[in-house]
């Protein structure tokens, strides 16, 4: 499996942030604050309408599951649209690229769950007295959790379309629309699908989290598995919790078999390495489609339909373009670029001012330091968790990776667990904590990594499977064993893969901290010490300035850690330990 995809879009030679990164960061943070202000104004006089009843009867569960899945697919559609539009734009225009890519890079690493409290009232305001508001808010949350890595992957593969293929498509007079569907999209499909799958896996977590949230002392519940389990927790209904978990397992299983595997098998044909590959992804669904006569018919009609779409004439055929037109538009473009640059600088300046003013007015310096302190507590918790998980999963991953048969079995299982929304399992841990009166700060910490530790495992497995057989044989021949073997042979090879996995795990943990550090059980609320708990507490209490402060600090911490620790490590891994 090609599990490893680059996690960073920007150039490795310059691992440290440049002007555009900082600009993007400022703008993103400022937008958050603006939304927070707007949200505050809207949420207080706003009537949330009738509370939506969530039934704990199992009869309702399939319907809830269906609604959750629907949200998921709508969000995926929106994410794809965003990917196609902005990914293409960034790949085609140098100016757009300079703004879009750093922005997306930042958006990718900020904790999305923190924004839920902002986006929910905003959308309710947009669609008053209608379910559409909360629905859109939930979908928006899922989109923000999945669009970015898809967009980056798409953009990167668009940039990698071989110049010969571009030349050939121009030489044979394909128009831009035909080129997009015949050359560019196919080129990006393996990476796009892989990123879609990663996004879907992450998305289950967010769909569950975004269905039931409380903002400004009001709780909003959308019919779905997430709300079902939230109500179950409220009622301390163990049985219902287990039903929800079982239902989710079923849903993920179906999704895995009916969507993930067939798509992976289908995407094999879009791989550009022109050699037949040894390990083809397989799927019984695809086999069924390929063998069935009836499906063949459908396939034939689909092919005709595709042909019509791809070859639709949007405009009359172009005649030879004259150079003068080109030159003139270049001039206009130059002026436009210049205007854009001025506007961007102005925007950055204003955003910075706004950000400082808003937070400074409503909070004290003492509070800022306290929040930074909380952030560091959460950071340390995550670091310790990553270390513990690495110690556990690296040896296991290597053991599995060295045995192709075991890898073939374990790999899909790890992917399955990665897709399972870990927040559904929180109640089980919570029950134990309450029962044994354990330390909340320490024992809720593992919850943060529960859902994302799998990234470490399957990246290590993937890395190990790339270990050249000759290297292992050479090691055996020279009797390289024990720690020396790990240090000289295994660790260097898996290092880049491990880093990719660890970045994903850490990013997920920051997000999870917002839902994992605070929990309710039977009407009682428990708080762990940490930034995640602070953010959700402030959200519940309806204090937007404090909430914004918490999110800003979290974003900054994540971005700084990414840039100063992960990215240089990744660059090092790429350069030093890359095995061809």
């Amino acid at each position: 499996m090609r599990l490893r995809k680059s996690v960073f879009a920007t150039n490795y030679r310059h691992a440290y942030p440049n002007l555009w990164d900082i600009a993007a960061l400022v703008v993103v943070l400022a937008i958050i604050v603006v939304l927070a202000i707007a949200a505050k104004q809207m949420s207080s006089p706003f009537d949330l309408g009738e509370p939506i009843a969530i039934h704990l009867s199992t009869l309702y569960l399939p319907d809830y599951a269906l609604r959750t899945v629907m949200r998921m697919f709508i969000a995926m559609g929106v994410s794809l649209l965003i990917t196609f539009i902005f990914g293409t734009w960034a790949a085609k225009s140098r100016h757009a690229e300079r703004i879009i890519i750093p922005t997306v890079d930042i958006l990718q690493s900020v904790p999305i769950l923190g924004f839920l409290s902002i986006s929910v009232p905003t959308f309710i305001g947009l669609f008053p007295k209608s379910m559409l508001g909360p629905e859109c808010a939930a979908i928006f949350a899922i989109v923000t959790s999945q669009a970015w890595n898809m967009l980056l992957g798409f953009y990167q593969s668009l940039k990698m379309v071989p110049s010969d293929l571009k030349d050939a498509s121009r030489l044979f007079h394909l128009n831009a629309w035909q080129r997009f569907w015949r050359v560019e999209v196919p080129m990006t499909i393996p990476s796009l699908l892989w990123n879609m799958m990663l996004s879907m896996s992450a998305g289950w977590f967010f769909v569950v989290a975004s269905e039931a949230i409380s903002v400004a002392n009001q709780s909003i519940m959308l019919p779905g598995i997430g709300s079902y389990i939230a109500v179950a927790i409220e009622h301390s209904d163990m049985q219902a919790i287990f039903y929800a978990i079982a239902m989710m397992l079923g849903v993920i299983m179906l999704y895995d078999q009916l969507l993930f595997r067939p798509l992976m098998a289908w995407s094999e044909k879009f791989r550009t390495d022109l050699e037949p590959n040894d390990h083809m992804a397989e799927s019984w669904v695809v086999d069924m489609f390929r063998q069935g006569k009836w499906f063949e018919r459908i396939g034939y009609f689909l092919a005709i339909l595709r042909d019509i779409v791809i070859n639709i004439r949007l405009a009359p055929r172009r005649e030879l373009s004259s150079n003068s037109v080109l030159k003139k538009s270049n001039k206009i473009l130059f002026v436009l670029t210049w205007v854009c640059h001025v506007a961007i600088y102005l925007a950055i300046f204003m955003a910075l001012g706004l950000l400082v003013k808003f937070i400074a007015q409503q909070t004290s310096l003492k509070e800022v330091f306290m929040v930074i302190g909380l952030g560091l507590v959460t950071a340390i918790k995550i670091l310790v968790l990553i270390i513990i998980c690495s110690v556990i999963w690296i040896p296991i991953g290597v053991w599995v990776g060295l045995r192709p048969k075991a890898a073939a079995i374990i790999q899909p299982i790890a992917q399955f667990f990665a897709a399972f929304p870990a927040n559904l399992l929180y109640p089980i841990v919570v029950i134990s904590i309450v029962h044994y009166h354990a330390n909340i700060t320490i024992w809720t910490a593992p919850l943060m990594i529960l859902g994302t530790q799998w990234y470490i495992l399957f990246n290590v497995i993937a890395g190990t499977t790339t270990l050249p057989k000759e290297l292992l044989m050479a090691a055996k021949l020279f009797r390289v064993r024990g720690w020396l073997k790990w240090r000289a042979v295994i660790l260097p090879v898996i290092f880049p893969y491990y880093i990719t996995g660890a970045v994903a795990a850490a990013g997920g943990a920051w997000n999870a901290s917002i839902v994992a550090e605070v929990f309710n059980w039977g009407g009682q609320t428990f708080h762990a010490i940490g930034l995640g708990a602070y953010i959700s507490e402030m959200t519940r209490a309806g204090k937007p300035a404090q909430e914004a402060l918490g999110i800003v600090v979290m974003c900054l911490l994540v971005v700084i850690i990414n840039r100063l620790i992960w990215k240089p490590l990744y660059a090092l891994a790429e350069e030093r330990f890359h095995v061809e």
Partner: protein, 437 residues
């Protein structure tokens, strides 16, 4: 447009191309190219790799704009791909996700031809080119030769007037490429297509002589036309025949002769002088030694015919010329009239043991390669006798693109390491003097 121009299929007139990167010196790739392709002709553009042949081909296809000059197709100026000109790529450039049939249909699809019509025409082209039975295969299932056949079918199905071929056989093995060349000539002479002309870009001398009616020899840095010669041997041509070999010999001579002007005789005795902006070819020191050893074998007496040497060491012109060029520059050998002769220093090198060779090599690169001297001088001036590669890269970027500068420095570092002149640390990118004096 005068009559003369219209009588040709393609007319290339005063075409130059340079690539400008930032505020740096523009990099001239080809300069003032003039030639024509007339109906019924196969023309070969022959030159070493990196001499701008492919750039010229892409200008002729309308894929890139020339910096100066114009290209006319049937009297009309070309500024973007036009119908009537088709092309075959070295890398095949097939869409991996499309079947053979879909790949061949691509050009017809773009013209908006109906699905039935294009299927009919594509199947006919597939038939003509000998791909029967492979219609539903994906390119990755095919061998290199079959893939290039798809490339030909795709190029021919649009009924082109002229076919441009960019090193179409160089990614194939010897037998396959011979087979494909034969089939293509067959198509051409039996007039199974509507082709009126073929332009073949190649670095392979035998290939050019086998196929072309006229050979245009390119010279690099920047690419210019060096010579032109007609080949009027009847087809099929046999590469071992005496007439064939004579033409090959003549081309070797043309390709290795330096334009020296008046001081020809005197200059012949001098090693070829180069500057700091010289593009060191990608040459391994072990290959240089190998050539010198071959020349030094008793039966050769330090002198060999280039085609003969090429066969002996299994290197075609494209791989051999960089080696002979470097040997000339380093004053280990001289090339003239298609022959290579060792200098006394070259003979000493061939007879020396490993350590002496290194010493001799180091002496010669310091004397004849300005870049080596320059690096050593700068390192010597430093108190720690070490400097970051970035400094040298910056300097080289005055002459080359970023990528080319990196390549040249890498070659230089390889030679410097062999000569034990300087060391290089990969992790830090630092160059340091081996034996600070």
């Amino acid at each position: 447009m005068n009559k003369h121009e219209v009588s040709s299929i393609i007319h290339v007139s005063h075409v130059s191309k340079s690539f400008q990167k930032g505020k740096k010196q523009p990099l001239k790739v080809i300069e003032n190219i003039n030639f024509e392709i007339k109906p019924g002709e196969i023309v070969a553009l022959l030159g070493k790799s990196g001499c701008g042949k492919s750039t010229l081909l892409r200008i002729m296809a309308g894929l890139i704009e020339p910096s100066e000059g114009e290209v006319f197709y049937r009297g009309h100026k070309i500024s973007e791909p036009v119908q009537g000109i088709s092309m075959v790529f070295q890398s095949f450039a097939l869409m991996p996700w499309l079947t053979v049939l879909q790949n061949v249909e691509l050009g017809l699809e773009a013209q908006g031809i109906s699905i039935h019509e294009r299927r009919k025409r594509a199947l006919r082209a597939i038939d003509t080119i000998g791909l029967d039975g492979f219609e539903s295969a994906f390119p990755k299932e095919l061998s290199g030769g079959m893939r290039q056949r798809v490339g030909f079918a795709r190029a021919l199905v649009v009924n082109p007037d002229i076919l441009l071929m960019d090193e179409p056989f160089s990614a194939l093995d010897v037998l396959t490429s011979e087979n494909l060349r034969g089939d293509l000539l067959d198509l051409w002479y039996t007039k199974k297509t509507r082709l009126n002309g073929i332009l073949l870009v190649t670095h392979d001398i035998d290939e050019a002589v086998e196929m072309a009616d006229r050979i245009i020899i390119f010279h690099n840095n920047p690419g210019t036309i060096k010579a032109e010669l007609a080949v009027d041997l009847p087809h099929p041509r046999h590469s071992q025949s005496k007439e064939f070999r004579q033409i090959v010999d003549k081309i070797y001579t043309l390709m290795t002769t330096r334009e020296l002007g008046k001081g020809f005789a005197a200059a012949r005795m001098q090693p070829r002088a180069i500057g700091l902006g010289y593009r060191l070819p990608d040459v391994q020191t072990s290959d240089l030694a190998g050539i010198l050893e071959t020349l030094n074998e008793p039966e050769n007496k330090g002198r060999m015919d280039l085609p003969e040497l090429s066969e002996k060491v299994f290197l075609d012109g494209d791989d051999l010329f960089p080696l002979t060029e470097v040997l000339e520059i380093l004053n280990f050998a001289r090339v003239s009239q298609g022959d290579i002769t060792m200098t006394p220093e070259g003979i000493t090198f061939a007879n020396a043991d490993m350590l002496e060779r290194k010493k001799l090599f180091s002496k010669h690169i310091l004397r004849y390669i300005p870049l080596a001297k320059h690096i050593c001088d700068l390192l010597d001036q430093e108190s720690k006798h070490s400097l970051s590669e970035e400094i040298f890269l910056k300097e080289l970027e005055e002459y080359f693109t970023e990528q080319e500068a990196e390549r040249v420095l890498t070659v230089m570092i390889g030679w410097g390491r062999y000569a034990e002149l300087f060391a290089y640390d990969f992790n830090s990118g630092v160059l340091s003097l081996e034996n600070p004096g």
